[in-house]
């Protein structure tokens, strides 16, 4: 039971990370390698507010706000030339550009605040949950992750804006023909993804702490979770995050801390190899890139379009 609870706390954070990076990729084919750096930047600035004696809620608000502003700022400036390219050229250029952005953010953080760390201590005794004693901070972090995921799903599946997002993910041109403005949808998604990065920062701060050097690892985790979930599939990323969190907790309890990462990564690799279309398989209704533009690998479940059939016959695109 303790394993399940610990695993869920971590898993929910992984899920939020994965969903945040997967949403943007699904929409625009940009795999954001600066995602972890954004989380850390937001957290460090939040910690400065706290260190300056600011109230906790202000720190939280600044963290989430900064993550959103950073996301939007990067999207509007350095990514603009990336959006002018299409297909695999866009994917590859986006990797390089966001990697460079991550260097810039990390570099600034390391040189200005090398020892800063963001943590939100929660007072009070441990709480009993189903017979397991849990730290209040961990519980709050898990709750926050859950709320963020639920809010994302409600937005995507019950609102008009969410429907527009799912449409653009499936067929950008088709969406335009229906009167949906892809640029506006992108703004919504970028803001949402930024807010999720802020949520990860706050949740990490509650559960443990965020240090300056964590950006790279966070990005790698986010990418792994997103890919295990089936890149661009939001529900898949959420499930993948929770599952990997549970695997992590289970591994910690059985093989010890040092081998935990090996087990986790192997589990991720095996899942990807066995189910490249994502942990949920093809049955889910989650949005995913279906057109031939970049994920040509992903084929429809029953009847195939010409593109899909061609891809299945071939070896997948390089």
């Amino acid at each position: 039971m303790a394993i399940v609870l610990d695993g869920s706390v971590l898993g929910l954070q992984l899920a939020v990370l994965g969903v945040g990076i997967s949403l943007v990729f699904g929409l625009s084919g940009v795999l954001d390698l600066a995602y972890g750096a954004k989380v850390v930047a937001a957290a460090i600035v939040g910690s400065l507010v706290l260190a300056g004696g600011g109230p906790v809620l202000l720190g939280v608000a600044v963290t989430v706000g900064l993550a959103v502003v950073l996301s939007l700022g990067i999207d509007r400036t350095v990514l603009a030339p990336v959006y002018r390219r299409h297909g695999e050229a866009r994917v590859v250029l986006s990797l390089l550009v966001t990697l460079a952005v991550a260097f810039v953010i990390d570099g600034v953080l390391v040189s200005r605040w090398p020892h800063a760390a963001f943590s939100l201590a929660v007072a009070g005794p441990p709480v009993d949950v189903l017979g397991v004693r849990m730290r209040g901070g961990s519980l709050l972090a898990a709750g926050l992750g859950l709320v963020a995921l639920a809010a994302t799903f409600l937005l995507l599946h019950t609102t008009r804006a969410g429907r527009a997002i799912r449409c653009v993910i499936q067929d950008e041109e088709g969406a335009q023909l229906c009167g949906i403005e892809p640029a506006r949808v992108r703004t919504v998604v970028v803001v949402l993804s930024g807010a999720l990065a802020g949520v990860v920062a706050v949740a990490q701060g509650l559960a443990s702490s965020v240090a300056v050097a964590d950006g790279f690892d966070l990005t790698i985790l986010a990418v792994v979770v997103a890919v295990v979930g089936g890149l661009g599939r939001v529900a898949g990323a959420a499930v993948a995050g929770v599952v990997l969190g549970l695997v992590h907790a289970l591994a910690t309890a059985t093989v010890g801390a040092s081998a935990t990462w090996v087990v986790l990564l192997l589990a991720a690799a095996v899942t990807i190899v066995l189910r490249p279309e994502g942990i949920l398989g093809l049955g889910g209704r989650a949005p995913r890139r279906h057109t031939a533009r970049w994920s040509r690998r992903i084929a429809g479940p029953d009847r195939t379009t010409d593109d899909d059939a061609a891809d299945r016959a071939g070896e997948g695109r390089g």
Binding site: S258, A269, I272, G314, E315, R317
Partner: protein, 343 residues
């Protein structure tokens, strides 16, 4: 097709251009790099920077063959180098086997590993990014194993490589020429591939794997072969470097140290071009050295410079130079045309 065009596009030269002209870029690049020790004026520091540069370029050639050639995003170049290096260092150090046996053994192990990953990806028809993430996890697994199996690998502190001490490899200058010789082999091999039928198969696969298969190309075999060649080269480079330096640690081969720099160098130089890794590797290394006095701010400035470079020449420096060259000469010849695909 001019020599430079061919170097730029990676297109095989036509037969009549002959052996000498075909390999001229390789010879020139190696000669220029060969001038470093005499010009360094006995500076050990400069030679060791240059050694690292040549090793980086060799990794770059390997990555270029497999990703630039067949579109397989193999993000475990560092890990493959580590496998070869640690195998050879440990077998020689612990069991006292001669280098002549352990070096090839390590390279063979790396080759098998890389080919196996590629085979898996081909079998499961993984898309570019999926291949990238699977190989990335593989390299993180290797890294964690190196850190974790402390009693064998020395963990974080690293491992002093006993084998090779006292040989010519440990002389800085001779060691430099040893890694340069390997790079020469790698570049010549890449050129040979470009000029051969295999090069056409690569180009066909990159363009459209399905059409390539319809044209009778064994796509799966070609991809695995490319991965095997690249892994062998990366393994040999890592292993040789370990014996030249006399010391290995997980950081020497970490994803952030090797693969990230390789990607940056190859992308900046020009993916798929013969000399792209050389140009990119030199620029990345120079950038590193020039920015060193900035101390902590180095990484940020480095990132900013890369950002500008990537956005300015998204296809890479070598093709960009090649195109301007082609355009200039075409205008000079009175034909204002741009090469196909130049837009």
């Amino acid at each position: 097709m001019s020599l430079l065009d061919s170097a730029v596009t990676g297109a095989p030269l036509e037969r009549r251009e002959g052996l000498l002209r075909g390999y001229l870029p390789v010879v020139l690049a190696v000669l220029v790099l060969g001038l470093v020790p005499p010009l360094a004026g006995g500076s050990r520091y400069l030679v060791s920077v240059a050694t690292l540069l040549v090793v980086l370029v060799t990794y770059g050639v390997a990555f270029n063959v497999v990703f630039g050639g067949t579109g397989q995003l193999l993000l475990c170049i560092g890990a493959l180098a580590a496998v070869a290096a640690y195998t050879s260092a440990l077998l020689s150090g612990e069991l006292g086997w001669p280098l002549a046996i352990t070096l090839p053994l390590g390279v063979a192990l790396a080759t098998t590993g890389g080919a196996a990953l590629s085979w898996l990806a081909v079998r499961r028809r993984l898309d570019t990014i999926f291949v990238g993430v699977v190989t990335l996890t593989a390299s993180l697994v290797v890294h964690n194993l190196l850190l974790g199996r402390r009693e064998l690998t020395g963990g974080e502190t690293g491992l002093v490589v006993q084998a090779g001490s006292g040989t010519a490899l440990r002389d800085p200058v001779l060691g430099y020429y040893a890694v340069l010789a390997l790079l020469a082999v790698g570049l010549a091999g890449h050129r040979a591939i470009q000029r051969s039928a295999l090069g056409w198969a690569f180009r066909a696969i990159r363009d459209d794997a399905e059409a390539a298969a319809l044209a009778g190309i064994d796509v799966a075999r070609t991809k695995v072969l490319a991965a095997a060649v690249a892994s062998a080269l990366a393994g040999a480079a890592g292993s040789l470097y370990a014996h030249v330096e006399g010391f290995v640690s997980p950081t020497t081969f970490a994803f952030a140290t090797v693969d990230v720099r390789v990607i940056v160098a190859v992308a900046f130089g020009g993916l798929g071009t013969l000399l792209g890794p050389v140009v990119g590797g030199v620029v990345v290394t120079l950038l590193d050295e020039v920015l060193r006095p900035l101390g902590q701010l180095r990484l940020a400035v480095y990132g900013a410079v890369l950002l500008v470079l990537f956005l300015a020449v998204p296809r890479g420096a070598v093709p960009a130079v090649g195109w301007s060259w082609h355009r200039a000469t075409a205008r000079w010849r009175g034909r204002g045309t741009s090469p196909a695909g130049g837009r």
